[in-house]
């Protein structure tokens, strides 16, 4: 308790030297009310930028006797406006009662063209018995012009044609004014750019003065991008200022091959005992040329499948090539459907395999032989009719 009493003394000393006497008199019997009254503000020195207003909180405290305290200002620079406010009204005096502090706001409004510097003025509080003053120091500084800064941590990213490029950028408001910043991106055709802040899609966001925000810029390609460099111009606009940065997406080409029949057909016919040419289309659906495509097949046992050509040295992106597969079904193959898997393997792409359904057809030769046999039988009957015919 002693300590807190001492603290009160120090506080009172520092805030209002004029009332040190009555405060010291209270030492040792803290329950004894003040004599007269005190007035102070917790933060007597404040700094503002040009064009800003400032509010000081004043506290009035009285000892044993309630009283009316009149307030006015001394040495207020010319052109400055200042008002006391209490309970939402503009006031000039306040009624202070014991054990209940009265709080008053002093609103100071320097003119717009105020010069930077330090301004002093004093708040005078006149009680019924005595009066007190609160010296106030206001430092007016030149306001920083609003400015924005947009920086990317890694402005150049590399990826595959279907990658979502994700750039981490920092948007900094370097001015002294809060801004609402709009984000605009100029992205290459076929891509979509989204801005994310805190996991949410944003297109505009408030950035307080001297605050910086992490913004993630995501570029998602709608379709696979061709190999090359893509530039994304990101523009951040807030008020009259803007900042921009250029992000680069380096798309590395990737080859992707597909195997199918002409028109995408995956069923073919093959005669037993014959070599049947089957057209196969190898297509590079990727964005980079595929090299050295090897064609292999895994047919059922006893089958022979040769490719012509066996190897494609190079297949440009988006191009296709027709290859002939010579399918020779096993001699024992029975009529009906068999599955033959055709695989294509390029140097730089994953192996692609496609199942072809080969319908094995048997030769019609034996059918013709059967018809021949029947014809022979008919001829024999005819001969018999000619030989034995009688009445």
């Amino acid at each position: 308790m002693k300590r807190s009493a001492a603290f009160v003394v120090i506080l009172v000393l520092s805030v209002s030297a004029f009332i040190a006497g009555p405060a010291l008199a209270d030492e040792g019997q803290q329950t004894t009310p003040l004599e007269g009254f005190i007035a102070f503000t917790p933060y007597p020195t404040q700094e503002i930028a040009t064009g800003e207003t400032v509010t000081f909180n004043l506290v009035l405290r009285t000892g044993a006797s309630p009283q009316v305290v009149k307030l006015n200002l001394n040495n207020l620079p010319d052109g400055w406006a200042a008002t006391f406010k209490g309970g939402g009204h503009i006031i000039e005096s306040a009624y202070v009662e014991p054990e209940n502090d009265t709080k008053i706001d002093l609103k100071v409004d320097p003119p717009a063209d105020v010069a930077p510097g330090t301004y002093d003025f004093t708040v005078m509080a006149h009680g019924e018995t005595d009066s007190t003053t609160i010296p106030i120091e206001l430092i007016v500084k030149d306001k920083l012009p609003p400015s924005l800064k947009l920086d990317a941590d890694l402005p150049v990213l590399k990826g595959a044609p279907d990658t979502t490029f994700r750039y981490n950028t920092t948007l900094k408001n370097e001015g002294d004014e809060d801004l609402v910043v709009n984000l605009v991106a100029d992205a290459p055709a076929g891509t979509q750019v989204a801005f994310k802040s805190g996991g949410q899609d944003v297109t505009s966001l408030p950035v307080a003065a001297n605050e910086s925000k992490k913004i993630s810029v995501e570029m998602t390609p709608y379709t696979d991008l061709q190999a090359g460099d893509y530039q994304i111009n990101v523009l951040a606009q807030g008020g009259d200022v803007e900042a921009d940065t250029t992000l680069t997406a380096e798309v590395a080409g990737q080859s992707q091959i597909s195997v199918a029949g002409p028109d995408g057909r995956l069923s073919e016919q093959a005669y037993v005992g014959k070599t049947n040419p089957v057209a196969i289309v190898i297509q590079n659906t990727g964005t980079a040329p595929a090299h050295n495509i090897q064609l292999t097949a895994s047919p059922p046992a006893g089958w022979k499948v040769d490719f012509e050509p066996k190897q494609i040295p190079e297949l440009a992106a988006g191009k296709q090539m027709e290859v002939t597969a010579n399918v020779h079904p096993a001699d024992q193959a029975i009529a009906g459907d068999y599955v033959v898997t055709v695989k294509a393997q390029a140097d730089e792409a994953a192996q692609k395999s496609t199942e072809f359904r080969i319908t094995v057809l048997t030769s019609t030769m034996w059918g013709i032989v059967g018809v021949g046999l029947i014809a022979v039988a008919v001829v024999v009957v005819g001969l018999a009719v000619a030989r034995f015919g009688r009445r």
């Binding site: 319908t359 057809l361 034996w366 001829v379 000619a386």
Partner: protein
């Protein structure tokens, strides 16, 4: 063609063997279609058709959405205790064919009408061919009627129309059944030429039918086992024995009909012989065969049956030509 051939090779012959064939066919068919035994047999087959198809349709009704070849399944689906229609056909058709022909020639003799018929300007060729064709046409008439009946019942009970392939397969099945019946018709006719008593001819025909139906399978197995003994340690000999047994089995028209019917009515049947596991590697099981391939599969069976008809007819023809017809 026949007349051309005859005029070239045999100068003795006068007139065409075709003269009067259609007259004989007409009269004979009229006789056959009004006879009591035909009525009994037709009723029997009709009853079978109704019963089996009704049972099959009950069974198939739930599958109309997913199953393919529903109409073919009408023929092959049985529902306990009613067997499938085709298993009835296997013995009803021979019975019908034998009933149509067992007294075709010797009946004329026993009624003493042969010389009267031949006194008309009709060759013996024409008489025999006409009688055979009349039998075949009657058979075709009965079978077609039943076929249409089953298809109609199918549309009524399943509520979906048959597809083109189903109709094509069904018609081929009809043709096959006709050929199968034709073999028994020709056989019964040969016996009716050979034996003077109709009863003997009928018994002989039925004996042959029973032999093929019951005993030929056993005989083929025994023959194959004794002629080509299989050594359990040598797979090749087992294969040879199985193959030979199959060949022997196929000498029976019943086997030919059964196998061909299976391939026609069940499109997923890809082979009628022995299939080695090696041949099935990579095969898509259950995939239906195109119709042309199914036809190729059963072509030997069909030609075999047709050849048997022609052969039996030729035998009957020669026997009949050499016979004394004056009573």
């Amino acid at each position: 063609m026949l007349s051309q051939l005859s005029s070239r090779t045999h100068v003795v012959r006068e007139g065409s063997p075709w003269t009067g064939v259609w007259a004989v066919v007409g009269k004979e068919m009229a006789d056959l279609l009004t006879s009591t035994r035909m009525l009994i047999l037709e009723l029997l087959i009709l009853l079978t058709a109704f019963g089996t198809v009704y049972a099959a349709a009950q069974n198939l009704r739930d599958q109309t959405g997913e199953a393919r070849f529903l109409f073919l399944k009408l023929f092959t689906t049985g529902q306990d205790p009613v067997p499938a229609f085709v298993s009835f056909l296997g013995f009803l058709v021979p019975l019908l064919a034998i009933a149509l022909a067992f007294d075709s020639i010797n009946g004329e003799f026993s009624q003493r009408t042969m010389s009267r018929v031949l006194a008309q300007p009709i060759y013996r060729d024409a008489l025999l061919l006409g009688k055979f064709l009349a039998g075949l046409f009657t058979l075709a008439l009965v079978l077609t009627t039943i076929w249409l009946l089953i298809m109609g019942l199918g549309i009524l009970s399943l509520g979906v129309p048959p597809t083109g392939e189903e109709v094509a397969r069904g018609l081929l099945f009809l043709l096959l059944t006709l050929c199968y019946g034709g073999v028994w018709l020709a056989l019964a006719m040969v016996f009716s030429i050979l034996f003077r008593q109709p009863a003997t001819a009928a018994l002989a025909s039925i004996a042959v039918w029973l032999f093929f139906m019951v005993f030929w399978g056993i005989t083929a197995q025994l023959l194959a086992q004794s002629l080509w003994p299989a050594q359990p340690s040598v797979p090749a000999t087992i294969l040879v024995q199985a193959n030979r047994e199959m060949v022997l089995n196929r000498l029976s028209p019943n086997t030919l009909y059964g196998e061909a019917m299976l391939a026609l009515l069940n499109p997923s049947v890809r082979s009628l012989g022995l299939v080695l596991p090696m041949q099935l590697q990579g095969a898509v099981l259950g995939a239906p065969l195109p119709l042309s391939q199914s036809v190729l599969l059963i072509w030997p069976h069909l030609t075999g049956l047709i050849a048997a008809i022609i052969l039996l007819f030729a035998v009957g023809y020669i026997l009949f030509q050499r016979q004394e017809v004056r009573a």
